[in-house]
């Protein structure tokens, strides 16, 4: 480490705001990504609060229907592209070089650019709130022809999506280049921590999926402004083709948002069970299988669109098949806990919460995959409950767990364990009050994306809204714990956690600016 410290002395980077704008350091950029994600999490969350306030009781009390639709549309775009994906890229920036024994990412300038595109993308997107005609309100899925009715916001939406896509693709290229080229001697692929493995596979999904989205939205743009009719039946086009193209991107996209979470849980569970991860190789193969299957299941998002029977059967079979590798992962985590020596610090609580609640989301996913039943579930609150279980109690809980797990390493301070536990328990209780009743609403027949509803849905909506407000308020506690930890706290040891294994834990806390200047030897 002496050499690293010496090197740091020579690192003459600008200070103040220019340090952050010009930085090419993976840790700085990781911090930028994570801070940006947190900001977007609160912006997207505020939109969710508006949605839940309007749905608190029947009748329109606060917003008009068009604005309500803008809120659901922007909430999804901000949370997916602004919060969850950048958070994972931030974690990758911080952790991957340390985990593979590298000094930094392979392409530092690209790294800087891929982050700094995001504030511009979201400025474009959020500026639409102030435009005549209002923000996009056709749903984050941007189905033609509805989205073509968007007013002046339309090109801003398309270009925002383009920029987010470019940013994601560059981030993915950087991660692949880093892992393929910068592993320490002896760090073979089958020794990589699962977080690194899940991220490589995610990166390939990004590179395969994001250009498809870019193509789809470009076709929307030319349909709107240049007289093409890709998606207009009147001009010989096909509105259903948009959905096929969109979901060919969209389904891999949902795995982009969950595979790194699998990696995080696979790092946390063995640490606090004090026992090696069970079935490492099968975890890698299961992740790869899920990634492969993600490209041949897309039409399950659109069963009601009127496909031929053979198509419906094919997509039903491939969809339910995903339950197999996903099950393998859950069973491996259970086997890791079995006969371990467990303690339950905040990261472990989030990981365990993830396993239980992600599995609940997996169950509803299995139900949704069964085509005839899907005809009843499709576009109801049952779907809303399903994807919030996999994305909030799945992806977001994993990100929160990862934050608590690695925050002492990043800052050199322990976070406040008592407040962390409060954050976990309050979040877990309220997130279930928020989303579990939405299963009932969907089964009882409440469609999604409606600003007002029939009175028989009033009771569970009120419960769900109360859960929503409390869950939202609880996240302020998360912010407080992070700020408190960044500003000070008990000194964290290098290893931080008793059962921690891996290269990141042999570095000091906080780690030097360039993690491993001399590559460690991995046996």
């Amino acid at each position: 480490m002496a050499h690293a410290a010496h090197h740091d002395d020579h690192a003459h980077h600008p200070t103040g705001v220019m340090r952050w704008i010009t930085t090419t350091n993976n840790k700085d950029i990781g911090t930028l990504y994570l801070s940006f994600a947190l900001l977007m999490f609160f912006i997207g969350g505020s939109m969710a609060m508006i949605i839940r306030a309007e749905l608190f009781k029947p009748g329109l009390q606060f917003v008009d229907p068009q604005f309500f639709n803008s809120m659901t549309t922007l909430h999804a775009l901000v949370m997916i592209f602004g919060a969850v994906m950048p958070a994972f890229v931030g974690l990758a920036n911080w952790m991957i070089p340390m985990m593979i024994g590298a000094p930094d990412m392979a392409l530092p300038r690209l790294n800087n650019w891929s982050f700094w595109l995001l504030p511009f993308a979201f400025t474009l997107l959020l500026s639409t709130l102030f435009m005549p005609g209002g923000a996009p309100a056709g749903g984050w899925t941007m189905y033609a022809p509805l989205v073509l009715q968007t007013g002046e916001a339309f090109p801003f939406l398309i270009f925002a999506v383009h920029i987010m896509g470019i940013s994601s693709i560059m981030g993915a290229i950087n991660i692949i280049a880093t892992v393929f080229n910068m592993r320490a001697p002896g760090m073979t692929f089958m020794k990589l921590p699962l977080f690194v493995w899940t991220w490589i596979i995610t990166a390939f999904l990004l590179i395969a999926a994001m250009p498809v989205l870019a193509g789809a939205v470009t076709m929307l743009l030319t349909d709107k402004f240049f007289g093409t009719s890709f998606f207009s039946a009147a001009g010989g086009g096909d509105p259903v083709m948009f959905q096929h193209i969109f979901w060919f991107f969209g389904h891999p996209e949902v795995y982009i948002m969950i595979l790194p979470a699998f990696g995080i849980v696979s790092a946390i569970v063995p640490t606090f069970a004090r026992k090696p991860l069970f079935g490492y190789a099968s975890m890698v193969y299961a992740t790869a299988s899920i990634a492969f299957l993600s490209f041949i299941v897309w039409a399950h998002h659109m069963f009601t669109v009127g496909m031929p029977l053979a198509g419906e059967l094919f997509f039903m079979y491939t969809t339910v098949l995903i339950a197999v590798p996903t099950g393998v992962k859950i069973f491996n985590w259970l086997a890791t806990m079995w006969r371990g020596s467990m303690t339950f610090e905040t990261p472990m609580l989030f990981a365990l919460g993830f396993i239980v609640m992600f599995t609940i989301g997996g169950f509803s996913g299995l139900m949704l995959g069964v085509t005839p039943a899907d005809f009843q579930y499709q576009d109801t609150y049952f779907v809303v409950a399903h994807f919030h279980y996999v994305l909030v109690t799945g992806a977001v809980f994993a990100i929160m767990g990862a934050t608590y797990f690695w925050l002492p390493k990043w800052t050199g301070h322990m976070y406040d364990e008592t407040l962390g536990k409060w954050h976990f328990w309050l979040s877990t209780i309220f997130v279930n009050v928020l989303f579990f009743p939405q299963h009932f609403l969907g089964l009882a027949g409440m469609p999604r994306r409606i600003p007002d509803y029939a009175v028989q849905f009033a009771d569970w909506n009120m419960v769900s809204s109360i859960g929503g407000f409390c869950f939202g308020a609880t996240q302020l506690l998360f912010l407080y714990v992070i700020v408190k930890c960044v500003r000070g706290g008990a000194k964290a040891s290098d290893r931080v956690w008793e059962g921690a294994e891996g290269l990141e834990w042999i570095l000091p806390s906080p780690p030097p600016y360039h993690s491993f200047v001399n590559p460690p030897l991995v046996k």
């Binding site: 229907p65 009715q149 659109m302 339910v320 020596s341 365990l352 239980v356 039943a373």
Partner: protein, 389 residues
């Protein structure tokens, strides 16, 4: 039940403690008696062979998930309780076992095959649209449904019922609990005979909609340029309610579907009545005769409230930034041909009304718009002019 509560609790001031008490009651006793009331928990079996097939499939998969969940979470909580450091548990060091991996790959696979078999059977039944007794075409519009009885020659629009429409306006001050079938009621329901296989064709005029009535087990997208097929056979007479299930713009939540299933005799009588009413209406609305201004103004006000007020507002002032005002607008006070053109063919968010409204209705509403909200164009548009435009 909701009616009674709406009265006892007054307008929109439901007390928090009472809701909490209801919540606790519901959580403590997840019994069917409560499920049948507002605190509904599960899907209903419905009234067609398909909806019942779906319901059984849903219950099979649900129970499989419950059983797997109990087993998986059982193992997990057993580990959490027994293998904790605070109880002195020492960590074992095993970390792989190929046999176990194969077993827990194969068992879920077998379970999935067991689900896929009945699912395939139900799906094949649902997609068998042949040998139908009658065919109805449902066309989605922003934001109403049009029904065409292809065999009987009856057709009409079905829009959100007046009372729901008033109550659902932003800050209307009307408590939805006081409106019967709030948001699930229409002016003219779809009437079908019981015991007959009805083939439903769905399509749309503007954007994608979806025709969904849960108790019939039918949800099918209505897509411009496509005609989708599905079918249902209602076995018990009754009224069944549903909604549009595909985001279709501002008023997606306000285009319900109501299906009334009647005995065949009653259905035939309904068809005859409907045809007679259509003839009478056509006679009364002859576009070729000269209409008086008062007639047009009265009809125009009606048409405006039903079709135009959702965007341009009852006072014609629109919503700044979203929907232009008609009061004092260039179109409503300028050249009448531009006005007719805009109403007939639309522009951007403004729908084209040519297919939806009759020449009489269009002439009436234009006359109304040009002589209301402080507009003083003063002219009268005759239906004949619109019909020939």
């Amino acid at each position: 039940m909701s009616q009674a509560r709406g009265q006892t609790m007054g307008r929109g001031t439901r007390k928090f403690p009472r809701s909490m008490a209801q919540l606790i009651t519901a959580l403590l006793s997840l019994c069917p008696a409560i499920a049948s009331a507002d605190w509904a928990l599960n899907m209903r079996p419905g009234v067609t062979p398909n909806s019942q097939g779906i319901y059984h499939l849903h219950m099979i998969v649900l129970w499989i998930c419950v059983v797997i969940g109990v087993l998986v979470f059982g193992v997990m909580f057993y580990s959490i309780l027994h293998f904790r450091k605070s109880r002195g548990a020492r960590a074992a060091h095993f970390h792989e076992n190929t046999t176990v991996e194969i077993v827990w790959t194969l068992i879920p696979f077998v379970i999935l095959v067991c689900v896929a078999v009945p699912a395939t059977r139900t799906l094949i039944a649902m997609e068998s649209t042949g040998n139908a007794d009658m065919t109805i075409k449902a066309t989605g519009y922003q934001w109403r449904w049009h029904y065409d009885y292809l065999d009987q020659g009856v057709s009409f629009f079905s829009v959100l019922a007046e009372k729901s429409n008033e109550a659902r306006q932003p800050r209307s001050g009307i408590d939805p609990h006081t409106v019967e079938n709030y948001l699930l009621d229409v002016d003219q329901p779809l009437v079908v005979p019981v015991g007959k296989k009805v083939r439903l064709l769905t399509t749309a005029n503007d954007v994608i909609h979806a025709w969904w009535v849960p108790e019939l087990g039918v949800k099918r997208d209505a897509i411009p340029g496509f005609i989708n097929e599905s079918w249902f056979k209602v076995e018990t007479p009754g009224t069944y309610r549903g909604q549009c299930a595909e985001l279709c713009g501002k008023d997606h939540g306000f285009m319900p579907i109501v299906v009334v299933a009647k005995e065949e005799g009653e259905f035939n009588k309904w068809v005859e009545d409907k045809k007679a009413a259509a003839l009478a209406e056509a006679a009364a609305n002859d576009p070729n005769r000269e209409w008086k201004k008062e007639e047009l103004m009265a009809k125009g006000a009606e048409v405006y409230t039903k079709n135009c007020a959702v965007c341009h507002q009852a006072d014609g002032k629109g919503v700044p930034g979203n929907f232009p005002a008609l009061a004092g607008s260039e179109i409503a006070n300028g050249n009448v041909d531009d006005h007719i053109d805009r109403v007939l063919f639309g522009k951007n968010q403004m729908p084209a009304w040519k297919e939806t409204l009759s020449p009489v209705e269009i002439a009436a509403v234009i006359t109304y718009e040009r002589n209301s909200f402080g507009n003083t164009a003063g002219d009268v548009v005759q239906p004949k002019k619109v019909a020939e435009y």
